[in-house]
């Protein structure tokens, strides 16, 4: 277990090659700025340790209630500043989404607005039975601004997503699973559950294998099917060649 680092309302720990990024602004874990952790700081965290996975969670009872409205109104006074800040937030979420290790959002309690958008940028979402989800932006004359609309439509169905965003209604854990917004509900602690799943997925696997799978999965979204298929074959061949090299050098050593 590495030492705990606490900066900018997030806490970072590493346990058995799994990084834990905890939103740490209790009780609601409001996001003070759209870029809830400076991207460079997150890159530092991730770059310091060899990681095989990451869990994003909230400190205490909730995941996150989303953006702090006062801060958002303050930012909105200058349209240019707001645009830059939102751009930074979007950039951060794309960075997380494109990481070449699996990222699981472990959700307890409230997961609203920007909090839900962070969860949607993760690859897998696990929640407790008491978790609640919403896009409350419409109640304040706004809409999701960090890709929440787009990402929820990629995994859920149009009518349900539209209703959620336009009504601001709260969706419970079961409904969230039903609409595919969340992948599973766990009776256990979702953080522990996410950790165990990441261990099952990554233990004893060369990092290159994990990275290749992540790449192939990303391709399935970014490329036309025929291209994605071609790339998958290429990635397979690279791994097969790497195994061949390893074997031959292994046997060469054996002969010495």
């Amino acid at each position: 277990m590495s030492t705990e680092i606490n900066k900018n309302n997030v806490t970072w720990t590493v346990r058995e090659e799994i990084g834990f990024l905890s939103l740490d602004n209790p009780p609601e874990n409001y996001l003070e700025t759209p870029e809830f952790i400076p991207l460079d700081l997150l890159k530092d965290f991730i770059g310091t340790n060899p990681l095989r996975g990451m869990v994003i969670c909230g400190v205490g009872r909730h995941f996150s209630a989303g953006a702090k409205l006062d801060n958002l109104y303050e930012l909105s006074a200058d349209a240019e500043v707001l645009k830059i800040k939102m751009g930074q937030g979007q950039h951060l979420l794309s960075y997380i989404e494109n990481l070449d290790i699996p990222v699981i959002a472990a959700i307890k309690g409230i997961c609203f607005g920007g909090g839900l958008e962070i969860a949607l940028a993760s690859h897998i979402r696990i929640c407790s039975a008491n978790a609640l989800f919403a896009f409350p932006e419409v109640n304040h004359g706004m809409m999701p601004g960090l890709g929440g609309t787009m990402r929820s439509l990629q995994i859920s169905r149009f009518p349900e997503v539209l209703k959620m965003i336009l009504s601001g209604d709260i969706v419970n854990a079961e409904e969230a699973v039903e609409m595919n917004l969340v992948d599973k509900i766990t009776p256990a602690d979702p953080v522990e559950e996410a950790f165990l799943l990441l261990k099952k997925m990554t233990t004893d696997k060369p990092l290159k294998v994990i990275q290749s799978v992540m790449q192939a999965v990303r391709n399935s979204k970014a490329l036309p099917p025929a291209e994605a298929l071609k790339e998958e074959t290429r990635l397979f061949c690279e791994l097969a060649a790497a195994i061949a090299i390893q074997r031959s050098s292994g046997s060469a050593n054996g002969n010495e």
Partner: protein, 240 residues
Amino acid sequence: MTTTYTTISFELIDGIGHLQLNQPPSNEMTLDFFSELAQITEEMHSVSEMKALVISGKGRHFSSGARLTELIPTTWDGKTGTAVLSGSEIEKFLERNNRSFLFLENLEIPVISAIRGVCLGSALEIALFTHFRFCGEDAVFGLPETTFHLIPGIGGISRIAALSGIANALEIVLRGNTFPAEDALKMNIVDLILPRREVVQRAIEFVKSLPADYRKEKSRLYLRRYINHQKGSILYIENS
């Protein structure tokens, strides 16, 4: 069809083509199998009287997939730093497999996999390229490649991601564990679960019921219609 195949059997009965993986008990997909598959897809161009194609495995199982050890370059030239049985040869081999699989996908007639028993690795991949997947209650699925430090290389990752989403694709591929028919149905990987003994017969009955102006883009609609007609006699119906 004139050629005799050893790893595949093909029959045309009543306008329905029956392609069987024919190396029981596991119907392992050997290099010979992939060669013959490429050959048979060539020949299929000329079978104009074929109205639909059903793919299944002979005996208890669909197939245990490819022999992964066959796909790793076996020798390595330390002097030149290149694999003798090079990655590019394997790449060529896999690209030919991609073409065979894409051929099945792009057929304008209905193509269905009737899956009994195990359906692992490349066997699941070939099934993912067919337009429909019916399976027995005993069917077992999985993409175990990463446990051998490889990845599914013929569309397993991208097709599962498209059918069941990124979260399911990551878990299936990275864990590499097997999962039962009910899970496959929940994840949209199969369309229908049937009593084991009825799988092939129902697949035939289904493709026979499809209209002459069949279009694979309408596969969901055809399935819903069939399932509505069959209510009560089917074990589990499709989720959505």
